[in-house]
Amino acid sequence: MNTRELFRLLLWVTGRMLLRRTMALRQQSTLMLTVIALFVLAYGVGGYFSFLWGFEHLSRFPGLGGVLIERVLYVFFAFLLLMLVISNMVIGYSALFKSSETQWLLTLPVRAADVFAWKTAETTVLASWAFLFLATPLMLAYGAAQEMPFSFYLRIALLFIPFIIIPGAVGGLIVLFVTRYLHRRLFKWSLMAIGVVALLGATFFLRPLESADNESVQMMETVNQLLRGSRLALQPLLPSYWVAAGVVAWGEGPVWKGNFFLVLLISNALMAGYACTVFSRWVFYDGWSRNHSQEGFLSGLKWLDRSARPQPVKWLDRLLGMLPGLQPWTRALVAKDLRVFWRDTSQWSQFVIFFGLLGLYVINLRPSAFGSPVWSMFVAFLSMGATALTSATLTTRFVFPQFSLEGRRLWIVGLAPCGLKHVLYEKFWLSSVVTSVVTLALMMISAYRLKLPGWMTLLFGATTVLMSFGLSGIAVGIGALFPHFGSGASVMRRDDNPAKIVSGFGGTFCFVMSLVYILIVMGIEAWPLYTHLTGTTFTGYWWLTIVIAVWSVVMFVSLVAITVPMRLAVRRVESLEM
């Protein structure tokens, strides 16, 4: 069977399944569909007007408006390119080397290189659609700000096709070579090492903005530093440069230059596709076999062989053994959950990427960059919100599916003397402690960098911890209230993955409730901050009373966020039939 026939058949299957999934939406809750539609609409409209406001604001900057708008595009596409490559790598590894469909396809009379081509194309679409969705309001706003005709948007759409193919192919090739030549364990540690080096490098090499005394000089200096700091996005060898330059050329002229970058992108996308075809013929099947045979570069090292070295998890058992007051089953459950998490690279790598980016941001905060302490406080407040939003994403992604993931193993813990109630408590505490440690660390770094006053550091720190507990309560509670154990025989299968569980009604509801909770908490705490920013002065005693009162309300809201879903969940699991 040739490549075209295989792709035609696989497209037919994919189309049928997509149709069935779309039709299945009719059986979904109207509430969930409405919530999702409203979110999409809110992002689209809100994003469009925010970007439009931003572009118009920048265009008024004396003498540099056009340059700043262009720079926004270059930086945006550079960031998009990086995200697309990472996203293609993460999804591509699972699709190419862990998917049961790939294994099945490799037993059929088709070429392994064709299977690679199909799965890479599928990965490119899966990894890119969300980013394109994010980019759409920006492009629409840019076009509106430049008063472009309709044909401009069609040309931009054309430009995006080769632009998403390049990171798709590059991500596929990286996965191909890494899997072929690196042992799995070595890959895991290499990934961590790269992450740490990138974080340290970014901390040392990304220079914070410094300010001058005079306001207008300070503004010019800030703009100057911003332009200098974003020069990396102007590397002409980056595909993000080509796409940004194409958009700018079509927006401001000359048009031939835009056409040139379109052709450049297409030729490079074709070249990347060709490289994938050639290298996959040589490497893919070999890499697949090695990946499933625990072979690879340095695979002879004893250290890489789990059975030949001391188990690294023993320290975990010792550590948990040192914690006083823990029941044996709690220790066992905590150890099990941590091990399962650690051994699944695709799980913790997302955790590291999310908090790593946030860490990068807070490490680079400087009070001087914001001119006045008031703005520093405002930025700290927004940092707290960003940290809470990241936590909400992660508790929904990782903690919410925990109860469902027990699935067919539920009877093991369900029939154990501790009972399911304690399983829920364990998951709640584990999630709360882990997220509190990470988010509090980020908040403290942020407060230290911004030189926040003591009372505000305390308020934001305590709120961050409370929100970690609140978000964990929501995720664990709703996870048990809306479990996804699969239907029919699927409950017996191994391929139920957390991402699939999260995409159901329960996952969406959990995320929406988490957002509502964050908005309420942020809304309550915005008041003392607002009074401070507007210059209202209170005596020390009154100020303390206000801060304590505000925090007490936040605490009350958080207790509700924890106890209501957790109590309902406990009631649900106590009557659960296994």
Binding site: M1, L6, L9, W12, V13, R16, M17, R20, R21, S100, E101, Q103, W104, L106, T107, L108, P109, V110, R111, A112, Y285, D286, S289, R290, H292, S293, Q294, E295, S299, L304, D305, S307, A308, S487, G488, A489, S490, M492, R493, R494
Partner: protein
């Protein structure tokens, strides 16, 4: 039809399959037995080309699975212990897809599918999505799809798990029929009576080595046992555990 020459597979420090020599002629029903972790599934993965051997080679229908995988796989149908199915397809759609992957035209695939549906009592599943089928029904769909293109070699890993007695009987009958009609059946199982009832020859693998191969009578003679396969199997595998060094494989 299936031949392996000194087929070996090494996983880190573990040799999962050690210098396996097999020769299974066309039309033979070959049962492959062994304790858990003996290397049965690894052997099957080497036979269908899912894994590369560390050394040695596997030849199916005259084609080396590593040198000419597409030609070899045209002759093979492989049913793993945990088979893959597209959850959002109907069984007939899945069958049509598989048939066309093996080069059948759509009408021919549909006609053969309907015949197999009747044989495997799958008519009632038409119009249902695969995700809603029970484990046993899914297993029957997979077996039916494996037989669709009339393979020359059928390699099956634990086909009876989850099947009710009536379905198990249908599967046994179909496999025996196909074997008589010239299909080589390579069946890996833990259910000894299936091997005893259906197989022309039985191979026993222990710790990656083929410790015995032959008809029931030959195996009984090698083990010095009479009666059911269970006693023979236990005796042979026990010997292999007690004397792990070099155990000659009979034939």
């Amino acid at each position: 039809m299936i031949r392996t020459d000194k087929l070996t597979k090494q996983f880190a420090d573990l040799t999962a399959v050690k210098a396996l020599d097999l020769d299974i002629p066309q039309g033979e029903f070959f049962a492959f037995l062994g304790p858990n972790g003996a290397g049965k599934t690894t052997t099957i993965k080497l036979l269908v080309g899912l894994l590369k051997p560390t050394s040695g080679r596997a030849i199916v229908g005259g084609f080396d699975i590593q040198q000419d995988p597409v030609a070899a796989r045209k002759l093979i149908s492989y049913v793993p212990d945990l088979p893959f199915l597209y959850e959002k397809l109907e069984p007939l759609e899945f069958m049509l897809f598989v048939g066309q992957l093996y080069g059948m035209d759509r009408k021919q695939a549909e006609r053969s599918s309907l015949e197999l549906f009747e044989r495997f009592q799958l008519d009632a599943t038409r119009g249902q999505l695969i995700e809603n089928l029970s484990h046993g029904t899914r297993q029957r769909v997979v077996l039916a799809s494996a037989l669709l293109h009339d393979p020359k070699v059928l390699i099956i890993d634990e086909p009876m798990v989850g099947l009710d007695p009536r379905s198990a009987r249908v599967v046994k009958d179909v496999l025996k029929e196909r074997s008589r009609a010239g299909t080589t059946v390579f069946l890996s199982t833990h259910i000894l009576y299936i091997a005893e009832e259906l197989a022309d020859r039985i191979g026993i693998l222990s710790r990656g080595k083929l410790i015995a191969v032959g008809s029931m009578d030959q195996l009984r003679a090698a083990a010095g046992k009479v009666g059911a396969l269970e006693e023979t199997f236990l005796a042979l595998t026990q010997e292999s555990v007690e004397a792990p060094a070099e155990t000659p494989a009979g034939s």
